[in-house]
């Protein structure tokens, strides 16, 4: 078993390009879509028609008290111009009792800004009435005559949520690729005859399978590990501190992915067929399962239902819960056991198909 396992690593060492490029793609995609997190400051242009200059300065000082945000004082005319020219995406208008955003373009950061502003408002004014005026969705969008305004109410998740989503979705998507493309080797081995060489050797068939599958399992876990470490250490994404939940979820997901690989190998007739269905399956699973955008955004009931049959859905949701909401392993029992169940099911069917076509 270990000789089969070690051999696969040796082969990977000789031809690592595919795996390395999937790791690189994960990081690139996350960088491209999500940018870096934490360290950067969000700049917000601020103005007021009601407040005096000194009142406004005082407000802005308070708003600037927290790191991560930089509020600049400006005036309505300048800001409208900047919005028109798309130099900025949004701006904050402060009044005595409430505040508004002028929004030129959809922005990922506006919710984070709003959370901050809201907090400062509440503490500063300490008026319960005002707290009531700010229910959860307190972004008021103002139709601005010359500026195209878009409703953001539903389409922006908070920046943390967005970040965690991209990180887990992209990582799982590309690890699915690595595992499935890697497992094509098994189909190729069956074709070229090295598999038969192993079968007629004194090695037990179960040892051959376990050695192979263990390789792809550890490869998958390793890839996710590398990506997460890069995101955590270099790109400042927040992974919370429920490491055990994350590890268990990752392992359950990778197990399901390897099992899916077995199922696909069992279904196809040739490595070529496998090569052409892998991108379709991975992308479809990732899209349905919400690796690219959260499933909550999908309104179609049928698609929502389909999401629930993909391992990607449970993997992403469980990871997000662990990273953002401190979910422990106990809280994630449901998605994790569904992943394991899928794994067992895929593996069982896959093995049967594979042994039957022999």
């Amino acid at each position: 078993m270990w000789s089969v396992f070690n051999l696969q690593w040796l082969r990977l060492k000789r031809e690592p390009i595919l795996v390395l490029s999937f790791i690189a793609m994960t990081i690139l995609f996350v960088l491209f879509i999500g940018g870096t997190q934490g360290e950067q400051t969000i700049t917000v242009q601020t103005f007021s028609d009601q407040l005096t200059e000194s009142e406004l300065d005082e407000w802005v000082d308070d708003l600037n008290n927290t790191s991560g945000f930089e509020f600049h004082v400006s005036d309505r005319e300048t800001i409208e111009n900047q919005l028109k020219l798309s130099q900025i995406s949004y701006a904050l208008e402060l009044n005595y009792l409430d505040y508004h955003y002028l929004v030129g373009q959809d922005s990922f950061f506006i919710n984070a800004v709003n959370q901050h502003v809201e907090q400062v408002y509440r503490t500063k004014l300490r008026i319960s009435e005002i707290a009531e005026q700010f229910p959860d969705r307190s972004i008021e969008l103002k139709d601005y005559i010359t500026i195209e305004l878009e409703s953001l109410a539903n389409s922006v998740s908070s920046s943390d949520e967005g970040g965690a989503h991209i990180v887990s979705g992209m990582t799982l998507y590309f690890v699915l690729y690595t595992i499935l493309f890697g497992m094509m080797n098994i189909a190729v081995e069956k074709r070229t005859g090295t598999w038969d060489r192993l079968i007629i050797s004194p090695l037990k068939k179960s040892n051959i399978y376990v050695g192979q599958l263990l390789h792809y399992f550890s490869l998958g876990v390793l890839q996710i590990g590398i990506c997460f470490i890069v995101f955590d250490q270099f790109l400042n994404y927040n992974f919370g501190d429920q490491y055990l939940s994350i590890i268990v979820t990752v392992m359950a997901f990778v197990f399901a992915a390897v099992a899916l690989g077995m199922l696909l190998i069992g279904i196809v007739r040739s490595p070529q067929q496998l090569q052409s269905i892998i991108p379709i399956v991975s992308t479809a699973f990732a899209m349905l399962g919400g690796a690219f955008w959260p499933v909550d955004l999908v309104t179609n009931k049928f698609l929502q239902l389909l999401a629930k049959i993909t391992p990607v859905y449970y993997g992403t949701e469980a990871l997000k819960d662990a990273m953002l909401y401190n979910a422990g392993v106990g809280d994630l029992l449901q998605p994790i056991s569904i992943l394991l169940l899928m794994g067992v099911l895929f593996m069982g069917i896959g093995l049967n198909l594979m042994e039957r076509t022999k």
Binding site: R14, T194, D196, R197, S201, K358
Partner: protein
């Protein structure tokens, strides 16, 4: 050592093996000769426990190979028809890995690799990746890998297909040595009759899933004892010439060869004059006419009316 009784294998649309009987004694070198599609590889897959027969049984040292594969597996070496190697790895690494699957390790494994590399003549190329090898070198490593555990029975499935003459004669010489010097039993499959004639004590001739003749080379050739093989060399081939020869009452079989035609006629028949006459009539210039001692190829031609390599 090996007995195969009434072996059948049906695939969905074809019957690849249709009632094969054969045996092989310890230390023998036996040939399985037949054209492409005869069912040789399928037979071998069943003997090596890879493929379950539709019916029939295979016994190795008296035991059913499917009930107890552990008896045959450790002492069986199979050289597959296709190159079954990890091409991104070196020859050494391939041999190392497959040696390990047979329980070899440490010094013993290293020594064995060196010994087998020497045998196949690739010692100085062992650190190269298999994918950079020539066809002949790949074939040799394909064999080397199967020899790591010193099998008692070595089954070779067309081990010389598509390679240079040098590699080919190296392989043939090697197989002979293994058989003569090491006493390895060999089942050698081929559609080249010269190879089988050179290497094997006994031969099975297979066609359409069946053994159509078997015996020692001499026994097989005596099938042709009532026939002569005549080689007619011509400057230019002609359909008309064949047609007319075919109509001749003493001519039994005709096959085209590179330089002309091979004709099997009844023994002692005086057809020379007729051949020249027919050649004249169809305006074929004859270079020469020779009576040949029969080869296994001729036996196959006689039995099936076809040449081995079509």
């Amino acid at each position: 050592m090996l007995q195969v009784n009434d072996l059948h294998k049906k695939f969905k649309t074809t019957t690849a093996v249709n009632g094969v009987n054969l045996y092989l004694d310890q230390g023998e070198s036996v040939g399985l000769l037949g054209p492409n599609g005869a069912g040789k590889s399928t037979t071998i897959s069943m003997i090596s426990t890879l493929l379950q027969p539709t019916s029939g049984d295979i016994r190795f040292k008296g035991g059913d190979v499917f009930k107890k594969p552990d008896v045959i597996r450790p002492v069986l070496g199979v050289v597959p028809q296709e190159i079954a190697l990890y091409e991104e790895l070196t020859a050494y690494e391939n041999m190392h890995f497959f040696g390990k699957t047979y329980g070899l390790s440490g010094e013993k494994l290293k020594n064995k690799i060196d010994e087998v590399l020497e045998l196949v003549g690739l010692t100085d190329r062992k650190k190269e990746r298999v994918k950079n090898y020539s066809g002949g070198m790949k074939r040799r490593i394909n064999i080397a890998v199967s020899l790591m555990h010193e099998p008692e029975l070595l089954i070779m499935d067309e081990p010389t297909v598509g390679i240079d003459p040098q590699s080919r004669s190296h392989i043939l010489e090697m197989v002979r040595e293994l058989n003569r010097k090491k006493g390895m039993s060999i089942l050698y499959t081929s559609h080249y009759m010269e190879e089988v004639e050179r290497l094997c004590d006994r031969v099975y001739i297979m066609d359409h899933g069946q053994i159509i003749a078997s015996g020692t080379k001499e026994e097989l050739k005596s099938i042709l004892s009532s026939e002569d093989t005549i080689l007619i060399e011509v400057h230019q081939k002609s359909e008309q010439f064949i047609d007319q020869l075919n109509e001749h009452s003493l001519v039994q079989q005709i096959a085209e060869v590179d330089t002309g035609y091979k004709v099997i006629v009844s023994k002692g028949a005086d057809v020379f004059a007729d051949i020249f006459e027919i050649a004249n009539a169809s305006q074929v210039k004859v270079k020469g006419v020779h009576v040949q001692t029969p080869t296994l190829e001729d036996v196959f031609l006689h039995l099936t009316g076809r040449k081995l390599r079509d």
